[in-house]
């Protein structure tokens, strides 16, 4: 099943919301820069950078890929590792 809206209709409907979200992100990074203290080594910043970079790719499934950037990995051997029979 596909979306009923055309691409121009989706852009028309969502442009201002997308613009606002990008601005909010930009303002958050500016706020981090103005604040005292350092977070350069915080792994969450690297996750954010990776996710923002991914947004510019043209591959489908960006939302799923962004989710995976912020997810712990799954080990198929988890039962042995945790000792669950």
């Amino acid at each position: 099943m596909q979306t009923k809206l055309t691409a121009p209709a989706v852009l028309e409907r969502e442009f201002l919301e997308m613009r606002a979200k990008v601005l909010q992100l930009a303002a958050s990074f500016d706020r981090l820069d103005r604040a005292e203290g350092a977070v350069a080594g915080d792994s969450r910043l690297a996750q954010l950078a990776q996710a923002i970079q991914l947004l510019q790719s043209e591959q489908p499934g960006r939302a799923e890929e962004v989710q995976m950037i912020f997810s712990r990995t799954f080990s198929p051997d988890w039962r042995d590792e945790l000792g669950v029979g």
Binding site: M1, Q2, T3, K4, L5, R13, G61, A63, E64, Q67, M68, F70, S71, R72, T73, F74, P76, W78, R79, L82, G83, V84
Partner: protein, 279 residues
């Protein structure tokens, strides 16, 4: 449009919320047992909670024409206490024959620990032994993907389980495909910040189709919106989707899933309206 909220925690909501939900078209709901915001200390606390779910809430909902159902368990967060969990699992069968009990839930994982997994498996055993349906909570944020995969691993590991009688809730873009491909039902929870928005839920319907998909508000004591399902309905309408498709997701799918429970005796509102009023 009538709708059924398959996952909402009404013990945390006011009677005014029941009235608002009824005005917005909610005719039925199911309420899984969950974490109260603090860890309870004894099996008697849970016995009282289960009485509230199986008696008081059903009556409170009925005042507004809403048919209330429930699920019983010890939630994943408190399952870290294995001793208490086992006492509660042993007590649950006292309640399974009550008229609004649909099954065991919401069981699941929280931080994906050994103890949570052990109690999840013991809940599964309880459900299978008593021919109960299962409603499953998947973890939050960074733990969701790993925990969902662990849960699916445990479910698939037991050949006695009928997958069509299991609902895996709180799916998002990175977990929905795994749940549906394995033959389970999937629930999308509409939350203001975490979990899923109405727009992203509509995206998943467009990508995966409407079969075995549900949407719920999970309205509870935290930041949540009990009227989130009507928000989803509006989003689908604004995108031009057919009323029949929307109705399938918010009304027919929940009924199809819940009708597999022996205690689900839902009366559609149009049938209720033709019944004589007593009193």
């Amino acid at each position: 449009m009538y709708y059924f909220d398959p996952h909402i925690h009404m013990v945390s909501r006011t009677t005014d919320d029941y009235e608002t939900l009824a005005k917005m078209g909610c005719v039925g709901m199911s309420e899984p047992a969950f974490w109260a915001g603090f860890d309870r200390g004894s099996v008697e606390s849970f016995r009282d909670y289960f009485r509230q779910l199986t008696d008081f809430e059903m009556k409170r909902a009925a005042q507004y024409g809403i048919q209330h159902y429930t699920w019983l368990c010890i939630n994943a967060k408190e399952a870290e206490n294995v001793e208490l969990s086992r006492e509660i699992i042993a007590m649950i069968p006292e309640f399974l024959d009550l008229p609004n009990v649909l099954g065991i839930g919401e069981i699941g994982l929280n931080k994906n620990t050994r103890n949570e997994s052990v109690i999840f498996l013991e809940h599964m055993e309880l459900a299978i032994t008593h021919q109960q349906q299962i409603l499953i909570h998947t973890p939050h944020l960074e733990d969701k993907y790993q925990g969902t995969r662990m849960i699916l691993d445990m479910l698939r590991g037991d050949a006695r389980l009928d997958r069509s009688r299991v609902l895996v809730d709180h799916v998002e873009e990175h977990t929905v495909r795994h749940v549906l491909d394995a033959g389970f039902w999937a629930g999308m929870t509409l939350y203001p910040v975490s979990k899923c928005t109405p727009a992203r839920a509509a995206d998943m319907v467009e990508m995966y189709g409407p079969d075995r998909l549900l949407v719920n508000s999970a309205g509870d004591w935290g930041p949540s919106k009990p009227t989130a399902v009507p928000d989803f309905v509006l989003e689908m309408r604004r995108r031009g989707h057919a009323e029949s498709l929307i109705r399938k997701i918010v009304y027919e799918n929940p009924l199809t899933f819940f009708r597999q429970s022996q205690n689900f005796q839902f009366t559609p509102p149009d049938v209720l309206a033709e019944s004589p009023v007593e009193g």
